[in-house]
């Protein structure tokens, strides 16, 4: 039967990838992701995992190897962080445009200049518009479960999935993790179908130059232009909302753990003040919520798990009864608001929800954000709202700003 083991987030990710019977792994070292690839190389060299491990010379090549391997029908995996993700940016677009079911872990880390090896989510958030599904994890249990779900989702909609989790806060922190049984994972995630891929028996020219307009093939059948191909990717991401929810439900039935699909919540039912957050800052908010509730403040939490596709209607529904919204996040859209705050405001436009909205950028470059600070921020926002400061610009939590 399943057993709980104490492990880091990176160990959980590596173990999950192994249990998904990945066939090709390509990786390049970068902190704080490196220990995933070290663990997988151990699995491969010891014979525990039968996979081709390509020790590439850069992240650009790491994702390229996954793209090419996936094109011939192999289940491919890579992981990266920060500048590694940015260096492969061209291939991040290319993988989604190619509609390949690659899974990549992004162990979230701040982006230079100046250098930081520590955690925030600027790296993956800046890849928002590449056409990948992005799922954010709140703890190590969710990491192992999400990597397994990610392959099921990616292979159902032919869109790559980025499993994002906070560097060091989760990647290097030991937590008890219930490890699923291999037979159950095998039943949940059957081998990748190998038909329809690049094959010498059926020569095709994959991803050639495409015109803006639709064009007839040699049989006179009209084929997609560039824009139709883009629409199909967009449409696949929209469809992925239902698939993420469905896969989460199926996973919960088989493995007994429900991570909420697109969103999760904590004490949110009938809560008047709703905190919205993504990743470990959301789990860090839970003790703050407990403490505030003990003081009689009716506060709850919404955790955003899927940043892309963004759960617009689900967010509206969850926030429908809110009297105030406070967002906590580890990324900033420079010159505007926090990235998640922008998305939430856009999602609420045209809805009946017109309530005070505060947002906080916190923990950039690994600056500690603890439950006490989150509690103080919420208390301060509620005070400001009472004083009539209903929608100020994004606050910088625990940061000298004058």
């Amino acid at each position: 039967m399943s057993k709980a083991i104490i492990m880091t987030g990176n160990s959980a990710a590596a173990l999950a990838a192994k249990m998904c019977r990945i066939q090709v792994v390509a990786a390049y070292p970068i902190t704080p992701q490196t220990s995933i690839t070290e663990a997988i190389s151990n699995y491969v060299e010891s014979g525990e995992l039968k996979a081709e491990y390509v020790r590439v010379e850069s992240e650009h090549s790491a994702l390229t190897v996954c793209i090419a391997a996936s094109t011939v029908g192999a289940r491919a995996f890579t992981s990266t962080s920060s500048h590694g993700l940015l260096y492969m940016h061209e291939q991040v677009h290319w993988a989604a445009g190619s509609r390949l079911p690659i899974v990549m872990c992004c162990v979230n880390r701040g982006v230079g200049a100046p250098w930081s090896i520590f955690n925030d989510q600027q790296d993956s958030v800046s890849q928002r518009d590449t056409g990948w599904i992005q799922l954010y994890c709140r703890d190590n249990q969710e990491i192992i479960d999400t990597v397994i779900q990610a392959y099921k989702i990616a292979e159902a909609v032919s869109v790559p999935v980025m499993v994002c989790y906070d560097g060091f806060v989760l990647s290097h922190t030991m937590m008890p993790v219930v490890v699923p049984m291999q037979e159950q994972v095998d039943a949940f995630l059957p081998p990748l179908k190998t038909s329809g891929h690049l094959d010498t028996a059926n020569p095709r020219n994959i991803n050639p130059v495409v015109f803006p307009w639709r064009r007839a093939d040699s049989q006179g059948v009209m084929r997609d232009g560039y824009m139709e191909i883009r629409y199909k990717l967009h449409s696949a991401l929209n469809d992925a909302r239902g698939v993420i929810t469905q896969v989460n439900g199926e996973y919960a039935r088989v493995f007994g753990r429900d991570h909420g699909g697109l969103l999760w919540d904590y004490n949110a039912n009938a809560a008047e003040i709703l905190i919205v957050a993504m990743g470990s800052i959301a789990s860090e908010s839970m003790p703050a919520i407990d403490s505030l509730r003990a003081q009689g403040i009716n506060v709850g939490l919404i955790g955003v798990r899927a940043f892309r596709p963004f759960p617009k209607l689900e967010v509206r529904e969850k926030l429908a009864g809110a009297k105030a919204i406070i967002v906590l996040e580890k990324a900033i859209s420079y010159g505007h608001d926090g990235a998640l705050a922008c998305e939430l405001k856009a999602a609420l436009y045209g809805s009946a929800v017109r309530v005070p909205f505060h947002s906080y950028v916190a923990g950039l470059g690994g600056r500690d954000v603890n439950a006490k600070e989150i509690e103080a921020a919420i208390t301060d926002s509620l005070k400001q709202i009472a004083e009539g400061n209903l929608e100020p610009p994004t606050h910088w939590l625990n940061c000298r700003t004058e």
Partner: protein, 299 residues
């Protein structure tokens, strides 16, 4: 010679309707590459003249499986194909990466250097037309000294060509060759041989380019021959570090006499601004390299 012709694969993999320029040295080369490598070969191609040659969606002029990849990623794309095919027990398929000189010597060199260092089992072909011809003749590190390009329009390129063959030899690539579409049987034989060898294989082809070099499209084969006669292009193989002249270059090395570079320079518009000093430097560069190769062949 005539009987050698009969061994060339009669199957055509490049169909009418390919979109290369008139007189393209690449299209001559590619036709023979495809014939030599036959079926059960997968190609990966970055953004380049070859992308255009192969045709625009939803039609294609080539009857082989191709994976288009981004400009810097050709050799990594080949690495991924090799890994994927191995994982699926389809190791008998030959994986071939084909990039231009920009995609090989410039933006693609990191991925290529990595792939051959990992001893990836693939063929990397560099078709060297000495510039960014697909974007309209900009300078690359393969452009020779004295050539005008659209990014060296007045002063010409000031530096010599990067010697990629020696870079690959320095990485101990087990099979390296240089060929020319002006000698198609020499080219064909090298690719037939390469398909039989395992490990990394680096194959450079000196590809004349009528619009980029500024000569009439009917003169492509002649231009390739003049280059070989002058020792500007050296047909050769380097197997396990051992250098061998091949084909016409072998004849020149053994008995013949090289011509000067003058005829080659005079026949191309791109050298019209080349100074006398640059011409001397170019001749000296060709002479020095030829001597180094000759010594290498005697080692």
């Amino acid at each position: 010679m005539p009987e050698k012709l009969f061994k060339v694969n009669l199957q055509e993999y490049m169909l009418p309707g390919q979109r290369a320029c008139q007189g393209c040295g690449l299209s001559l080369s590619f036709r023979y590459i495809l014939k030599a490598l036959r079926e059960d070969t997968i190609y990966t191609i970055p953004a380049s003249c070859l992308t255009v040659l192969c045709g625009l969606y939803p039609t294609t002029a080539v009857r082989v499986p191709i994976l288009n990849c981004t400009f810097p990623s050709t050799a990594a794309s080949a690495s991924g194909l090799v890994a994927g095919l191995r994982a699926l027990n389809r190791e008998e398929t030959t994986v071939v990466a084909i990039a231009g000189d920009g995609g090989t010597l410039d933006i693609g060199i990191q991925a290529l250097s990595g792939a051959v260092e990992r001893e990836t089992d693939f063929i990397f072909v560099c078709y060297d037309n000495e510039g960014y011809m697909n974007t309209g003749t900009q300078r690359s590190s393969a452009t020779p000294i004295g050539a005008t390009t659209t990014t060296t329009p007045l002063l010409t390129k000031q530096q010599h060509k990067k010697d990629m063959v020696r870079i690959m030899a320095a990485q101990d690539v087990p099979y390296i060759s240089v060929s020319s579409p002006s000698y198609p049987l020499d080219l064909y034989d090298k690719f037939v041989k390469a398909k039989r060898i395992g490990g990394s294989r680096y194959m450079q082809i000196a590809v004349p380019c009528p619009p980029g070099w500024g000569y009439h499209s009917k003169d492509t084969v002649r231009m390739g021959k003049i280059a070989v006669e002058a020792g500007i292009v050296v047909l050769c193989e380097i197997e396990e570090g051992k250098f061998k002249f091949t084909g016409r270059s072998k004849v020149i090395a053994e008995r013949g006499k090289r011509t000067t570079v003058n005829q080659y320079l005079e026949k191309q518009q791109r050298f019209r601004r080349m100074s006398t000093e640059q011409k001397e430097q170019f001749q000296q560069w060709v002479d020095t390299r030829w001597e180094e190769y000759r010594e290498w062949s005697q080692r």
